[in-house]
């Protein structure tokens, strides 16, 4: 057991746990942030995606110890911001949401992309979403959702 400090959605937090505990479990179990989903537990699917110091990572692959001193943003930290609302609304308009299990992770991937590239091409969007698996949509309408977010949110990112 070790006390690990990091910044979670803008607030400093301290977690006393095994430093090898998965960040995913810390977020879901200790912090009740269930917007972070477990899809595979092996870094393949992106359902548990969060931002670590601005970089899109799979929280199932990050031991708590590696989060020490970093800034973590989960879907809970983004969904009520202007950027978050923009992505959520754009996904709604596009019809990007089906079962919804991958979608919070898709929102995180979209934010990470638009932060780097305000006006991505379709190919760049597909590349940026390629670490987030979706079994329902075939991706077309998610790609469209990202395009709509990029257009509507051109002053946000």
């Amino acid at each position: 057991m070790k006390e690990i400090k990091f910044v979670l959605n803008g607030k400093e937090v301290s977690v006393k746990a095994d430093p090898l505990k998965r960040l995913l479990d810390v977020l879901r179990e200790d912090k009740k942030m269930t917007g972070v989903k477990e899809g595979c537990g092996e870094g393949e699917c992106g359902a548990c995606a969060v931002l670590k110091d601005g970089v899109l990572v799979n929280s199932c692959m990050i031991p708590l110890g590696a989060a020490e001193g970093s800034e973590i943003i989960t879907p809970e930290g983004i969904r009520d911001t202007e950027k978050g609302k923009c992505i959520i609304d754009a996904f709604g308009t596009a019809g990007a949401v089906q079962c919804g299990f991958c979608t919070p992770g898709m929102m995180m991937a979209t934010d990470a992309l638009l932060t780097q590239n305000k006006k991505p091409s379709v190919d760049e969007i597909r590349e940026a979403l390629s670490g987030n698996l979706c079994r329902c949509t075939g991706y077309d309408l998610i790609v469209k959702g990202v395009q709509i977010a990029s257009e509507r949110g051109k002053d946000l990112w």
Partner: protein, 726 residues
């Protein structure tokens, strides 16, 4: 436009956008899901929650000699068949009840549930599980079609390993074959497919208000209720099932949740505490049902004018160790066996066999994709043999309204395939590309046609399901909708609201629909068989009309509507004769590919789809179904390899069972044509499975067109292509 396709004015009549109801609305669940507010079963919180894990068979077929258990600490339990209460049964009530809740005395497949280990700490449960030693005496297992048919090791099921056997016949095949001037034969094989819904299987069973209550990621809450009540030997009303938001299902959460729910309920019945069973991904891939592998042999006779005069089909599907829904999957596979073609003399023999593999079960398409892959590839092989363009040969044999189907009924649908072909030609430039790629060793294009019967096969809707829906006037001008069909991603919550609100002249947001709770909603049947919009949606439409009449009675006014089968559709279940489905969805796909000459990897460069689903209830939702269905099917056709080794699936993780990413396939260009069905809500027909059916043969045809060698099997892997080109 391709030179060999004559475009007539009649052909494109009806190729236009659909009704007002098709205008997209914001999906009711979009915002909550996108932001991560929606709670799936793993997000629920329960006081005093116990965690369960299954002790599973490590052998495909063996006697259990002894189970050596460590001492269990206080509060930890080992639950097995001996815990089923008197009056209950160690069987899961599905269609049959041959699947056991707990293996008892012997095991029949790797992963079979032997016991449930549970307690408050996950890690201690795992430690206990690891300390249990099962002593087996191995028996001779049977895995392949050949093993099954020769009853290797003795029959697993009955005396002959045959779960189901059917024979369909039209015309006079035996007299027709001698008149053929040419005979073409082929054997077509399809593999297992894992559903890979993004949310794994999960159920929490609780003891609430002196009642076992289950919260489940599920397609069919009433199926769970039936199976649990049967296992415990209690009246149906003693069990309550509440559907949790379900993160994808595709058939994988139709019957399989019963396999989790029944042991959990046995445990809760004993300890009266809530127990959770949430699969991790490895467990989910390794130990859940897959799509039935198929082996379909087709022999076709042609006359001098290259008309098909006779066809004989032999269909085998692998059902695994228990029956589950296998006979009905087989029925659908053979009833779709002739695809969209009019064959005057045809015979289809279908058998579903038992093996010591994980039981196969429902997967989007439910047998039709296997049958349709075979017939589509076979038609392309005949065209190749006689040197006729594939599109021309297929078109020449299109079934028409009034033609006889394989179950000796008239095709009632207004078949618009010629117009749909014309449309996809215009979109994809198919025929021009066929010519262009003739001498190109790396590029190819494929064209497929399919139909898919909506609703349960035969008399399922009227004799078995008898769906009921209810509606009620609520406060504030809202209306409550009570149905048992679920939202699992397909957009049903939104579609049913649109259907009800149209009749009641309300805003769709004023229709109140909660995830089904078996104590509250009537049984409108399961969420499967492309029936929820077409069949239940129609009940909702009719129910809403009744409520509209009673609306002025004020708050509390209620209406109910029960399924009645349209009289013009007749079916005889014993002989499988008559109208197998009241209507069909129809589809045409074109897939274009490019081969890497060094790695033999195939890149898909274009995908087009034209669908007749009657009328779309929401154009955007249906676009999502089309893209999603087609891409899932392209995965099945290309990269989703799932193999058995000594009865265990070799692919266990998402790293080795790969599904399409956003980079693997391009955009699916989709068009819907308008062809209203009179017993569908606003004219809608079944759609959810149809959109899966067409892409696999189109993809395989594209690859064979590129490499100039016939393809008989999916998934088409680079290894297969390398072998073919050697």
């Amino acid at each position: 436009m391709g030179s060999n396709i004559a475009l007539k004015e009649d052909d494109i009549k009806g190729v236009k956008m659909a009704a007002k109801i098709s205008i997209p609305v914001l999906r009711i669940d979009a915002r909550e899901k996108a932001g991560g507010w929606t709670h799936y079963i793993a997000d629920y919180e329960f006081d005093n929650l116990q965690h369960g894990r299954f002790l599973r068979s490590e052998r495909a077929r063996a006697k259990i000699i002894e189970i050596r258990k460590p001492d269990f600490p206080e509060g930890y339990y080992y639950i097995d068949a001996s815990d089923i209460p008197p009056g209950g049964k160690n069987n899961i009530q599905m269609i049959k009840d041959d699947w056991r809740v707990f293996a008892d005395g012997d095991v029949r497949y790797i992963g079979e549930t032997i016991a449930l280990i549970l307690g408050p700490e996950k890690q201690i449960v795992l430690d206990l599980l690891n300390q249990i030693e099962v002593v087996y005496e191995d028996l001779v297992p049977s895995f392949t079609f050949q093993d099954a048919l020769s009853c290797k090791g003795g029959a697993i099921h009955g005396t002959d390993n045959i779960f189901a056997e059917f024979l369909l016949n039209i015309g006079d095949v035996d007299n027709a074959f001698p008149g053929a001037v040419r005979v073409v034969e082929g054997v077509y094989e399809t593999g297992f497919q894992e559903h890979l819904y993004m949310e794994t299987q999960g159920i929490v069973a609780t003891w609430e208000d002196e009642k076992i209550t289950l919260y489940a990621s599920s397609q069919c809450p009433f199926y769970i209720r039936k199976s649990v009540a049967g296992t415990l030997g209690v009246p149906l009303g003693d069990i309550r099932v509440k559907q949790a938001a379900t993160g994808g299902a595709f058939g994988g959460k139709e019957h399989f949740p019963d396999v989790i729910a029944t042991p959990l309920a046995v445990a809760v019945n004993k300890i009266k505490k809530p127990v959770a069973m949430i699969f991790d991904r490895i467990e989910d891939i390794s130990f859940t049902c897959k799509r039935h592998p198929g082996r379909i042999s087709i022999k076709t006779g042609l006359d001098r004018d290259n008309n098909i005069v006779a066809m004989e089909i032999d269909t085998l599907v692998n059902g695994g160790a228990y029956e589950s829904s296998t006979p009905i999957v087989l029925q659908r596979a053979i009833i779709h066996g002739l695809g969209v073609y009019r064959i005057p003399n045809a015979r289809i023999h279908g058998r579903a066999v038992a093996t010591n593999t994980f039981p196969s079960d429902a997967y989007r398409g439910f047998g039709a994709p296997q049958g349709l892959f075979a017939i589509e590839m076979h038609m392309s092989h005949i065209a190749d043999e006689i040197g006729m363009p594939v599109s021309q040969f297929k078109r020449k044999h299109f079934i028409k309204t009034g033609d006889i189907t394989i179950t000796n009924a008239k095709m009632h649908d207004d078949v618009k395939l010629p117009g749909m072909l014309a449309k996809i030609e215009e979109m994809s430039d198919y025929s021009e590309k066929v010519k262009k790629y003739e001498d190109d060793p790396l590029r190819g294009i494929g064209l497929s046609f399919v139909n898919h019967g909506g609703g349960f096969t035969g008399n399922g809707e009227q004799a078995v399901i008898k769906g009921v829906v209810k509606m009620k006037r609520l406060e504030d001008g809202k209306a409550g909708l009570y149905v048992s069909v679920v939202e699992m991603g397909q957009g049903l919550q939104t579609a049913l609201r649109k259907i009800a609100s149209k009749e009641l002249e309300l805003d769709y947001l004023d229709i109140v629909y909660d995830n089904p709770d078996t104590d509250i909603v009537p049984d409108s049947g399961p969420t499967c068989a492309s029936r929820s919009t077409m069949v239940v949606g129609f009940l909702v439409q009719e129910c809403a009309k009744k409520l509209k009449i009673k609306w002025d009675e004020g708050v509390g006014a209620e209406a109910e509507h029960v399924y009645t089968h349209p009289e013009e559709f007749v079916w005889e279940q014993e002989t499988l004769q008559g109208d197998a489905y009241p209507s069909y969805g129809w589809g045409v796909n074109v897939v274009e590919v490019e081969l890497d000459p060094f790695t033999y990897e195939v890149k898909t460069t274009g995908v087009w789809a034209v669908w007749d689903v009657g009328v779309t209830i929401d154009e955007t939702i249906m676009q999502g179904q089309s893209s999603g269905g087609v891409i899932q099917a392209l995965g099945y056709a290309s990269i989703e390899k799932c193999e058995l080794k000594n009865g265990a699936f070799m692919q266990r993780t998402m790293a080795d069972y790969t599904i399409p990413t956003s980079l693997d396939f391009p955009e699916v260009h989709t068009v819907f044509i308008d062809n209203p069905y009179k017993y569908g809500p606003s004219g809608a027909k079944g759609a959810g499975e149809l959109v899966f059916d067409a892409a696999p043969p189109a993809y395989a045809e594209a690859v064979q067109n590129a490499i100039g060698k016939r393809i008989y099997e999916i998934p088409v892997t680079p290894e297969m292509i390398m072998e073919a080109l050697r």
